[in-house]
């Protein structure tokens, strides 16, 4: 029992450190990170991990800086899934797939896009965007809204 607990704890610690890909740099109003079925209130400085979903309320907005120096932010009523993220700080190779389900998103691409132009993809319900080193904004309005 004790060993099981110890193994679990060390897994948890390893996960926390190995999994951080970005950090919450701005958070106003209701902002949450959905992680493994849990909904965590997002606070300044909080680490962001691969597979996290950033959710903002009607009064919320949030900004995240990633390890490859890409930055993004979401406006009110947004749901943004960080589906895949990996970055090698030595080679600058990596991949970044994000999906905006609804709301507004602003993106400034980072080092991995400079290294390989196909590294970053942003999805919406109807589109896939390939990013060739740039700043851009995306809005998704669900029908009926």
């Amino acid at each position: 029992m004790r060993w099981t607990l110890l193994v679990c704890l060390s897994c948890f610690a390893a996960g926390v450190w190995a999994g951080d890909v970005g950090q919450i740099k701005a958070a106003t109003g209701a902002v949450f990170l959905e992680r493994q079925g849990e909904r965590l209130p997002a606070t300044l400085g909080m680490p962001v991990q691969e597979s996290d979903t950033l959710v903002t309320g009607a009064d919320g907005s949030a900004g995240v800086t990633f390890s490859d120096n890409s930055v993004l932010s979401v406006g009110p009523g947004s749901v943004l899934a960080i589906e895949r993220y990996a970055f090698d700080s030595t080679t600058h190779n990596g991949h970044f797939d994000a999906s905006l389900k609804k709301g507004t998103l602003a993106v400034v691409s980072g080092k991995m896009v400079k290294q390989s132009p196909d590294a970053m993809r942003v999805r919406t319900p109807s589109s896939i965007m390939g990013v060739r080193g740039t700043e851009f904004v995306v809005k998704v309005i669900e029908p009926g809204n």
Binding site: K25, S61, A62, G63, N69, V71, E135
Partner: protein, 213 residues
């Protein structure tokens, strides 16, 4: 009499029985509304240096290449088009999101007097500006890397570069940046900004890089 009592019970039972749930209302939406995809807008923005990159929007078999400032790909009521927006229109639609965009990661350089961890006079002036810029960031994540020129022994330069980095870390702690958010490293003479032979006094190599995220 019995009939009356029984009758009363039946009536009471009817009154106290659970109310019959109202019939469920089923709203049948027209097919077109159910299948309508969300409206979407993608706009490419000029970056701070005036350069505009490219975003390729792939929607089914359709492909929109956006590479002009404020060029937009729009999907409205299932219909896609390329259009041109104004700065003001973008501000209106995306203002709150753009406001929340974190400060871009950046690098500052400070230079040192030969063989010391003392800043040059010019860099002392620069330091004030750098500290003011760092104060603007809510949760800065900082990597300070010290370097030397090629004068002297590499081992001594390793120590000198580490001392320079620590000195700069001290300035950052003084303005209230938590120590835990500042990492330091000394690279000695391994990463010359200006390549040189051994034992060359090169002021541009005696430096500290402050990388802020």
């Amino acid at each position: 009499m019995l009939v009356l009592v029984l009758g009363a019970l039946v009536i009471l039972g009817a009154i106290y029985a659970e109310p019959v749930p109202p019939e469920k209302t089923v709203v049948v939406l027209p097919r077109a509304v159910l299948q309508r995809p969300p409206d979407e807008t993608v706009v490419v923005l000029p970056s701070a240096d005036g350069h505009t990159g490219t975003v390729v929007v792939q929607r089914g078999g359709e492909r929109h290449v956006l590479n002009q400032p404020f060029a937009a790909s729009r999907l409205t009521g299932g219909k896609a088009e390329i259009t041109q927006l104004s700065d003001a229109e973008v501000r209106q639609s995306f203002g709150v999101a753009l406001e929340a965009l974190p400060a871009r990661p950046t690098t500052f350089l400070l230079y040192f007097i030969t063989a010391t961890d003392e800043l040059t006079d010019e860099s002392k002036g620069e330091l004030k500006k750098i500290l003011a810029a760092l104060k603007q960031r809510a949760v800065p994540d900082i990597m300070v890397v010290g370097h030397t020129d090629t004068v002297g022994e590499p081992e001594r330069n390793d120590l000198l570069s580490a001392r320079r980095a620590e000195r700069v870390k001290g300035f950052l702690i003084e303005i209230g940046i938590p120590s835990a958010q500042i990492q330091t490293a000394g690279r000695g003479e391994r990463e010359l900004l200006v390549p040189s032979a051994d034992n060359v006094d090169e002021p541009r190599n005696r430096r500290v890089e402050i990388n802020v995220r």
